[in-house]
Symmetry: C2
Subunit: 343 residues, 2 copies
Amino acid sequence: MELRNDLLLRAARGEETERPPVWLMRQAGRILPEYRAVRAELSGFKELVETPEKAAEVTIQPVDLLDVDAAIIFSDILVIPEAMGLTYEMVEKVGPRFPQVIHAQSDVDRLKEVEPEKDLFYTIEAIRIAKKQLNGRVPLIGFAGAPWTIFCYMVEGKGSKEWSKARRFLWQEESLARSLLDKITDATIAYLKAQIEAGADLVQVFDSWAGVLSRELYAKFALPCMERICDAIDEVPLTVFAKGGGHFLQDLASLNCETLGLDWTVDPLEARKAVGAGKTLQGNLDPSVLYAGHDEVREQTNRMLQRFGGTRHIANLGHGVYPDMDPEKVKTFIKTVKEYQQR
Amino acid sequence: MELRNDLLLRAARGEETERPPVWLMRQAGRILPEYRAVRAELSGFKELVETPEKAAEVTIQPVDLLDVDAAIIFSDILVIPEAMGLTYEMVEKVGPRFPQVIHAQSDVDRLKEVEPEKDLFYTIEAIRIAKKQLNGRVPLIGFAGAPWTIFCYMVEGKGSKEWSKARRFLWQEESLARSLLDKITDATIAYLKAQIEAGADLVQVFDSWAGVLSRELYAKFALPCMERICDAIDEVPLTVFAKGGGHFLQDLASLNCETLGLDWTVDPLEARKAVGAGKTLQGNLDPSVLYAGHDEVREQTNRMLQRFGGTRHIANLGHGVYPDMDPEKVKTFIKTVKEYQQR
């Protein structure tokens, strides 16, 4: 299936583009009334993730409603621990809860090897359906959590600000930590390959909790997993987004991936200096800007675009859009990118 | 009262010191069994904060037990909103909860002007008692939360990862936000001056949630408050610690304060370059290092000390010590700093 809009893929590969492509993290989600309507028919977030037809439907909504240059499959990073044998519940207004967590090597040994077509059938099937229904309009992005971020949840069992238990493991249980990270990495690679096989045109790895690690610990434990993933995926372009990882951007620059995502604390000019010309950068408008008035959204978006210099750039927010944001502001952001003329 | 150990103050003022002084954020707290014993006699954290004799007692414990070069008064940053009229509860294992939050200008107008000797008598009195009992052994540090961080709690009413409501206020309710920040700043200045009057030898302002703001928003809303505080306090040295603020360190460098605190994501060499020679730097060992073995703690501490170059440096962690840490590791950290010979 020929893509009619392949701006995202060309930008990722470093080819000339007439303007930066644009999409938003969490574009398929609670900002859209149409999403909330689909979700209301089901028992909750997890049922939506696990119902391929519905997951595909909300995946496509932002393409129809917001006119973004890419769809991203509706799923959750925590499907990987689930497939490995640690089930989770998504508690409304609280977040994920794992009844069982990793304490000892025996817990790691008990984890299952993931067969994506079986264990993660729901997301793989959702990708096939979404891909078919998109019918070549825009590329479809697949994704997974980064091993360090998944490790955090598997050790702590719920969200945390400091992730001090997970970090304690790195110092006190090094071999256990490595074996767990390795297993997560294996599962992640298999999962991403299955997503690509099913039709994902680009994949993104989200390292949501990268920012709690020192540069040294990231380099020692998290980066090797990212290296393995980047080296294993050569079928489609890959994006690495290490939130809060501005302090080791130079290290991320050595990864064998096409694109690095930036949060809104990173200056695009500094990032380009640290990363060099060889990679595409994605991001990075402060999401809170979308709370401002339309004029301010336009001004801030244009300023952000200028700082990226219009080349090897995929426009996005610096993190996911917040659920209470007005879709009209999101549209203004998207429209501003689309009208951007490189000066 | 002459201080017998004034290393902290000399380091803050940029005078020659034989070695860097050392203390730890949250040194008076749950890591010490002796603290937990005092706390167990009382109904909870808040009663301890509000009982001057007991607050003074736990303030001095780390001087006796850990041999640090400074005491920091045992209190909480949330005493300021409380004194302004927004009471809070400290819910065990959950964190602070404010039954009322700021919604509108009328809520701001209703806030009380803070008279520290009356409204915050408990902490001021605790400082007087601690100062007397310290008897000149080491300096006593006073502290307050930074206006932006206090603003976050007063708007959201509880902890948050994103503080998106607080950030929304900055875009949608600019004048309300400014008037609230102004009132908090006034209260903070009065409070710090009362602490100094009562005996604090140095004061530190904690901007715990600085890291969620873009450089632009920090400069527009948070920095002016910090400027006012720094300019108002000239009786003793002042330390500004903006956690997660590595992306606007250059802007903090312009503040009229003696010391800037660094979290563990900031490289000391880069920080020195950004800040220049005119300020003392405080920090910044990754707290999770104290989960490691004693040899590793020593090695990592020495490496950190070397990166600061032994001059204009106050040794500390990059954030508070975690409650489940072994006090023996804390002692190894402190001892390593004390034995450090500049190479």
